[in-house]
Amino acid sequence: MAAAPTTDTVTISINDVEIEVPKGELIVDAVKRLGLEIPIFCYHSRMKPVGMCRMCLVEVGFKQPDGSVRKMPKPQAGCTLPASEGMAVYTDTELVHKDRRGVLEFLLINHPLDCPICDRGGECPLQNNTLFYGPSTSRFIELKRHLPKAFPLSRYVTLDLERCIQCGRCVRFTEEISGDAQLAFRFRGANMQPTSFQLTEFESKFSGNVIEICPVGALTSTKYRFRARPWDLETKPAICTVCSNGCSVWFDYRVGKFVRLNGRVNEAVNEEWTCDRGKFGHDFYNSPKRLLAPALRKEDALRTANWAEAYAAILEAFEPGGNAVAALTGPMVSNESYYLLQKLFRGVFRSNNLDHRWTRHLSAASDRLESKMGMPTVATSIEAFEHKSAVLAIGTSLADEEPILFLRLRKAWFKNGTKVVVACDRDTDADSFAHLVLRYRPGTEMALAGGLLAAAVESGRATVPDPVREDLKRYSPSAAASATGVPEDRIREAADILGPNAAIVTTHRLLDVADAQGTLEYLAGLAMCLRAEFNLYALGANDQGALELGIHPELLPSGVALADAEAAAEVGRTMGIEIPREPGLGTHELLRACADGRIKALWLVGCDPFALHADRDLVQRALEGVEFLVVQDIVETEATSYASVILPMLGPAEQDGTYTNMERRVQRLRQVIPDAGDAKPAWRIFAEAMLRAQPQTPFFSAEEIMEEIARVAPAFEVARYDRLGHEGTRL
């Protein structure tokens, strides 16, 4: 709450205690400096105050020259009242208490008081305020109003109109924060109802948040409905591992089973919001398809086995090593597990056949922007977007791919007027607040990127080496305009908007388009020339970690290229293994090699190639073609039916570990839910396999692995468990 030193301050008195507060600070917030609290319903610190509920009434007066205080005749709403010099606020007078009782009595008249069956009961601001400030009995003997109960507002949100106190938080959320403006009030007075327009389905990618901010049980979660009461639940901090944003969340669980997820405050990442994909996307923990015991294929059928048999079978099959073995990974695996997997493969199986990428285009190590142009591919933190003057989001629908970044960008526009240029081949949610929308024809990303760079060069703001200038001729703004279908003046305007305090944002989705490499190079070039920041963000929970920790056929942990023999040998020495010299195969080549039998044994770690790879046919041939297939996963997938060995793996919240989000923030997730069945953390599986292959000191905990990671990849020094901050730390 530290006020910036440059802010003007004013002196006000609160209950006769003088205090300096920033000028214009709202009284509800100012009293917190004295440890006081004003009860509220409609006020929310991340939204504009509206003064709808009158719960926050306080008495206000002004100091007169003679030292006395002249009170205003009526109480004032503390949530809409900015502090000004000489203001005297009283939060604890007879009048204030009477007003509070009155407001609560009024609200409760129209409230069904069905707390015992309400999902909010026990954690409800209306209950709490009534308990502390309200009347203890009711004088209301008339009939209560009756309205529809349990109206399905959306797939995830159930609306109980009887319980609504018309505070407008939900409506304001969709207007101010998520921006989809899907909710509004109908009717007036006691009949006022928050609904979607025309009673259509409430379609929002962030609808789950209104459940949490509703101060009563009017908006409740359809999935959590009647599943538990708050006192039945245990709650622990966690992070969401559904996408690469890595939101801080609370996990609520009951008798060892995950029940619901709520947003947790992390100003650097998600503030307090969550997206629906994450909030409602953790069903796999309770899936009936959970893998709970290892299984081994014997005489054409998978039979439950014990871990020892599974390891023995795997080590025998992977014995040839080198080019004959390979591993592919999914995104929901911890840093520690990725690190040990590559150590197992490089050290024990002498193979670099490792990959975590599933996009169509896989940059070769030499083509990476870091090595080719010296351009980092992740520069801007989520928080920093708030202060960017302009942002170009290209080839991505942020609300779908980086939902929390989307909210931050929207906030930047809403609060600070950041100019957002949205370039995508389809409609995106960001169009609604975009300064400029560049709608290009699918497949013309490269032309647009080239056109933008060419426009910047033409306007004289960017200088490029001559060969590039020559090359750019084919993408002069007019040529780019005719290729992409974006009007020429828009291309020029977009290029003009970008400058030193701008950021260019795209995601790994761009690696699926034709000419991805060229597009990326133009974009990075554009950023470089204009001294803007360039970001190519990951999509999966820990894709970034997989990349940093060497789940890559040509890169070692800390991004050292295999081709750099000396540096690679050094990394090997720190790891205590000898790094095989021959580069491995990328995902597509690797699957082809499986299909034609060159690779004999394949290890799938938390990934279902059928779901992740574009070419189903190739995947099927690969899984059929490979002699020995290890499927290590949390739940049964299409791939498990092809497995020779199934290894059950614990989910992220069932083990200790760290995850690297798209802005390279490493965050720790401690074990929340107890182990499921016989499943093990991925790192333990790799550690035990290593131990069986070669006698060595095993790792006993994820923390020990992080210690080694920090030695091998110095960037992770800040991620050692004793240093990792509460909000995580950026590498």
Binding site: P116, F226, A228, R229, W231, V255
Partner: protein, 170 residues
């Protein structure tokens, strides 16, 4: 020697004397004090708190709405409630919510009656059946089926001893 007689033998004989006198008196006088359980049972006080019942409304619907308030109030943490939603086809209680699973661990219960106090619908009540001994620990988990009245008012009926004791009223 006479010391021994005086301080040891005489008091013993005196004690036996009391015993003999009592034996001589009519037995009935003491029936008020000693109840010959299990052959006999004494009527209990109206607010005795023993075995729980989940009661029903007169129309047969369950009173319990699965709100878990009893579980929240229970100092022994021995109640487990899992709720579900009533539908028009399958209606167990009035309103939206009912308990699909309701369990009390009778070994842990301290018969404080807080659950009864907390219950907003008067569903859970502690009645007079005190014959709760059993042989296996698992049998002490009383499930909803065991706790629920078979018909409205069943819990109000006098408790019948499982071992066939008859009521003697003092």
């Amino acid at each position: 020697m006479s010391d021994v007689y005086k301080s040891v033998v005489k008091p013993i004989l005196a004690g036996f004397g009391i015993t003999r006198r009592r034996l001589m008196q009519r037995r009935k006088k003491y029936a008020d004090v000693t109840v010959q359980y299990p052959d006999e049972l004494r009527e209990q006080y109206p607010r005795t708190r023993w075995r729980h019942f989940l009661t029903r409304y007169d129309n047969g619907l369950e009173k319990c709405i699965g709100c878990s308030l009893c579980a929240g109030a229970c100092p022994a943490r021995c109640i487990f409630v899992e709720a579900a939603e009533n539908t028009d086809e399958a209606r167990f209680s009035p309103g939206e919510r009912y308990a699909v699973r309701y369990e009390i661990n009778m070994i842990r219960c301290i018969f404080c009656g807080y659950c009864q106090d907390a219950c907003p619908t008067g569903a859970i009540i502690l009645r007079k059946d005190f014959e709760l001994a059993d042989y296996r620990r698992e049998d002490f988990i009383y499930t909803k089926e065991m706790l629920l009245e078979e018909y409205p008012g069943q819990s109000e009926e006098p408790f019948e001893s499982k071992v066939g004791g008859v009521y003697v009223n003092g």
